[in-house]
Amino acid sequence: MSGAAEFFALQMTLIAVVLVLHTYMGLHIIRRTIIFCDLVLAQQAALGVLVGLALGAQSATGGSYLVSLAAVLIGSVLLAVIKPRNRMIPREAVIGIMFAMALVASLLLGDKLPGGGAHVTKTLSGSLLWVSWKLVGLTVAVYAALIVFHYRFRGRFIGLSEAPETLKNQGWWDFLFFATQGIITVMIVPVAGVLLAYSFLMIPATIAAMFSRGWIRAVGLGWGVGLVACLVGLVASYNLNLPYGPSLVLSLGLFFLVAVLIRALSGGQREGGR
């Protein structure tokens, strides 16, 4: 029984820490309508893991993290730099194409790696089950540092979302934004997989954005809802022996559906629909 208790404690600690920053980043992403940039970075990180494997670094080791980090930083630079001047091409299209290319590279590489197909699947679904306290400690440290950094420069980042033209060195802050996202992606994708990482980022923030326009309140709301949804998914997965990552995503999705229904039924009214 104590084994089960420790399992839950580990998982929930990790999720609780991860959700704070993810909800905040997610709000930025939704308000800037660059929804899929995270998928690009996550896929870059996964591609990095595969490249690491090709170079002989097993996944979830130091070498593998380094290659992933390099891949993600390259992705961040590209995301910050490529802004089509052509009005017929929305920025999201560039993001979509980058995502497709990263995925294609992963699949082609998977063709040539021993057991590559299984690796590709694994990068999608992750292995959150194998979380250890050491990993949780490392993740908490990195996340704490990033949260402090973002709190210190919150004015700049919020400016980036609300009034980008007034900001000096916009490209630089853009890069820092994507780089932060990239770092948390590298931390979380090997344990959670692309899909769960993406869901952590998007679903709580989307739910929060439907009901709140402020930043602090939205982060609080998203964090709370996300945590409850994850707990439900975790318990369901543990008791019914269901696939772990997908269960969490589905549980988050269920909460999202309920939120959409509440919002749709309460009509187009503005603040405070709850």
Partner: protein, 446 residues
Amino acid sequence: MMDLISIQGLPFLSCLVMLSILAYIGLHVLEREVIFIDIALAQIAAVGAIAAHVIFHFHGHSIYANAMALGSTLVAAVFFAVVRRRVTQIPLEAVIGVVYAVSAAGALFLVGVSPGGHVHVQEMLSGSILWVTPGDVAWSAVVFAAVGVCFYLFRRPLQAISSDYENAVEQGYNTLGWDFLFYALVGVVITMAVRVAGVVLVFTFLIIPATLSATVAAGWGKRLLVAWLGGAVSAALGLLFADRFDFSVGPAIALFLGATLIALGLLRLAGVKRAAAGAAWLVAAVVLGAWFASGSTAGDGRPAGPAGGVPEVGSITHTHAEHHDEGEPVEARDEIDAARLAGISDVRELEALYARATDAEERCSVASRALEVDPAAGVRLALGLLEGDPPLLFRMMIVEKVEEVGQVSWDYDIDQPFTAPSNQRAVAGLRESLAGGDGNGQRSSQ
């Protein structure tokens, strides 16, 4: 060259059929800024098909599976149309993103509770356009033509809503209804296309030609022409490339679509005129295509093909090849089938057959038979097979066979390469138990 056409012709035709409608829808999708709509719809269709397979045990390509896939996308079409109208505080793309993640998780979830899941996921992503049948192509051509007619008939409201939603609402269009029609039509096309080509290829066909056209042309008509031309040439290059270097076809085509876009984008960025950029790219594409085709593995009768193949086949079939030199490779292949194997109970003969086998499937069936005849020799062949890293299906089959014959549960992890430490341990363990427990093999060899 005829071989090349007979192998690649149908996939290429299928690409053209898909491209014709997907490139047009892509223009709409860019206008609406719902870039990821098709990844979401494709994923939903895939969930429907997988659910049909896992829950109701319909065959993957049966009419029921297709109906389930289509049904799921129609439900999603209603959802998107309603959310666009009723939920104003978040962009539709955010909802699409969430729907994508949830349905992808749904697919993994279903696959996770059913065996052989990796194969589904891999195929869902990469598709299997190389195995497309004339029936598939004809069907999709008919359906896409019907969808194309719908798009033509209703082009005014659909284009008005795509270009400016708020304005369309003010003009009194029934946006809810037209949006549903739009997403339903897109859903039908995506469902059909993904069954053949996989999520990745369909997504790139949708987005990249449309984006490509924006770099070198303006206006719906011209953009559509550029999108078709660029897409068709990239598809041809991708097919030839995959054939030459033995890659999955879908991702290879997607790769060349991306490369085309990047090349044209860079040329335009460097200030090259539209026509010049297009011409330079076409020349490069023809040169590349000729190079890929010249080394094609399908190009029979070329010096490169047989010269590479003969020594290998010759050395393996050395003892049997004396009587008939030319026809030997073909006959050797035909000899290995299940019925013949079941009749062989001499291990030596099986080992010789194993050495002559030309692909993983044959090796797998020979090794399986050997396991039945003589576990010790069979295990040697099975380990040899695993070491050569056969496709997942055969890894699974052979490991199951070893467990069945040895009546043990063998902790070999088929998801890991043969060289993984855990698998090395599993192999060592199996060898040990054979050497210790099986005195027969030792005695007969002495």
